[in-house]
């Protein structure tokens, strides 16, 4: 982060300004990605007028960085009307899309409206892998064509490569593709639970060996020695630091007007259909609770050697049951990065979860064994050695 951005973020924090908002316009999508955390049915999206009013309110509240995402944003017929309104309110706009609906006309319109960047998801350079993840035949070809259209007009394109078991060996190919397309490559090695709490898609997360390999790849992380350095443990300054920007200078608004600290932090804080955005931002008890938490308040993480350097996501911790607790997925990442287990991992190893032998229960007169969720046998949680 540049010095200026750090300075601006610190000022926004002092002034309690929501500098960044992600607004999802819709959860509908023309792809059906295997790892997606959303329910794609429309449960009553905000209307064009409601969204325009929300944009006015957000501009008034001081929002500068606006990420417009979904679902697929172009599934909304009013997408360009919304984007035009947002640009007239001088937001700095990043779009997230699969690009499939971006033809020549749409690319021209995006260019003329002046968005800061457009993020396109590419899972593999191989159509058979990418299209199997999106479950849409021909989707890689269409997404690449869109990127070429956007780059041809000088628009900044960021390729988002989500790493999972199904594409674990393809990131280098996607990096090469990005060089050819002159697009910026980013990778996210974390599959998150569905917003309704269903954790079944977490099985798609790559194993520790793959994570370790990724974290030692200089082309991905920069200085490997620095990135994988053993943790020093949190000092007083780190203990009083804030976990991340969620709820502090950033928040998320769903297509239904629900406000959350972050798209990965499904703690409902209010709804803009009932309450003004600024009032939710300033007065929501849930947001204020999120804001009150420092590393010092986290019983396990404050004592952990990784406390100051961990990528702990409070949203993932919340989904694991405690927003003041550790996030197991981030503990695994810290371990893969440094080879040193977190306090949480050590505690799990010391006292593994109790084994419950199978028992029989009776449902509607039929005897069935009580297994895990969805009738599948639960796998024991992996504990690093």
């Amino acid at each position: 982060m540049s010095h200026l951005v750090t300075e601006m973020t610190a000022k926004a924090l002092d002034l309690s300004i929501p500098l960044s908002v992600q607004l999802d316009l819709t959860y509908r999508c023309n792809e059906r990605c295997v790892h997606c955390y959303l329910d794609h049915h429309d449960h009553g999206e905000m209307t064009t007028a409601e969204i325009k009013d929300l944009l006015d309110q957000m501009a008034e509240a001081g929002v500068f960085y606006l990420t417009i995402s979904g679902g697929e944003i172009m599934m909304r017929r009013d997408f360009f009307a919304i984007l035009e309104h947002a640009r007239a309110r001088t937001f700095c706009i990043k779009l997230k899309t699969n690009g499939i609906l971006i033809g020549e006309k749409e690319a021209n319109r995006l260019k003329s409206l002046g968005v800061e960047s457009i993020q396109v998801s590419i899972y593999s350079h191989r159509p058979e892998v990418h299209d199997a993840i999106t479950k849409l035949p021909g989707s890689l070809k269409q997404s690449i064509e869109a990127i070429r259209r956007l780059r041809g007009r000088g628009l900044r394109v960021i390729v988002a490569n989500v790493l999972m078991t199904k594409n674990a060996v393809d990131y280098a190919g996607v990096q090469e593709l990005c060089k050819e397309l002159d697009a910026h490559f980013t990778m996210d090695p974390t599959i998150t639970p569905m917003m309704d709490g269903d954790r079944s898609i977490l099985d798609l997360n790559v194993d520790e060996g793959t994570l370790r390999e990724v974290f030692r790849n200089g082309a991905l992380v920069g200085n490997v020695e620095e990135f994988c350095a053993p943790p020093q443990g949190p000092d007083d300054e780190a203990l009083d630091s804030l976990p991340c920007s969620a709820g502090h200078t950033a928040c998320y608004v769903s297509p239904y007007g629900d406000v959350y600290p972050c798209v990965q932090f499904p703690l409902p804080c209010g709804n803009v259909r009932r309450t003004k955005f600024a009032d939710i931002w300033r007065h929501s008890p849930q947001l204020n609770e999120v804001r009150s938490i420092t590393l010092r308040d986290m019983p396990s993480c404050s004592k952990c050697a990784h406390g100051a350097t961990c990528s702990r996501c409070p949203g993932l911790a919340f989904m694991e049951g405690d927003m003041r607790g550790p996030s197991y997925q981030d503990c695994e990442k810290s371990y893969a990065r440094t080879g040193i287990p977190s306090e949480n991992l050590k505690a799990r190893k010391a006292s593994p979860e109790p084994y419950h032998s199978l028992r029989l229960v009776q449902i509607q007169g039929v005897q069935v064994p009580s297994l895990g969720l969805n009738g599948k046998m639960s796998e024991p949680s992996p504990v690093p050695a």
């Binding site: 540049s2 951005v5 601006m8 001081g62 500068f64 001088t90 002046g114 968005v115 800061e116």
Partner: protein, 106 residues
């Protein structure tokens, strides 16, 4: 007497007030700038139809202890810099449509 100078905010920018400052980002280069209090006054008044010397007199000199000559010299330097970065449009004629510049504009 030097000709009137008109200034208009470019449409190819993102901007937001942050306390008494203003953040401005160039869409072309994704470069972030901040404007201090005085620069923010000029930025906010840059409507394309109010001459720069009038902005300086009406906004800057009314609020700050500065002579019009000094304030106008500083304002000219600022708007030149902002124009170089593509954040502001300059013209010797009123700019009514920032997307369509009048002759003499850059």
């Amino acid at each position: 007497m030097s000709p009137k100078r008109y200034v208009a905010r470019s449409r190819a920018i993102a901007a937001r007030a942050l306390g008494d400052e203003t953040m401005v980002m160039s869409a072309a280069s994704s470069t972030l700038f901040t404007l201090d209090q005085v620069a923010t006054l000029i930025w906010e008044a840059a409507d394309g139809v109010t001459p720069l010397d009038q902005i300086v007199t009406d906004k800057v000199c009314k609020q700050y202890d500065v002579t019009p000559d000094v304030a106008l010299r500083d304002a000219n330097a600022l708007v030149e810099q902002l124009a170089e970065q593509g954040l502001l449009l300059l013209s010797d004629q009123p700019i009514t449509e920032p997307g369509k510049l009048a002759a003499g504009a850059r």
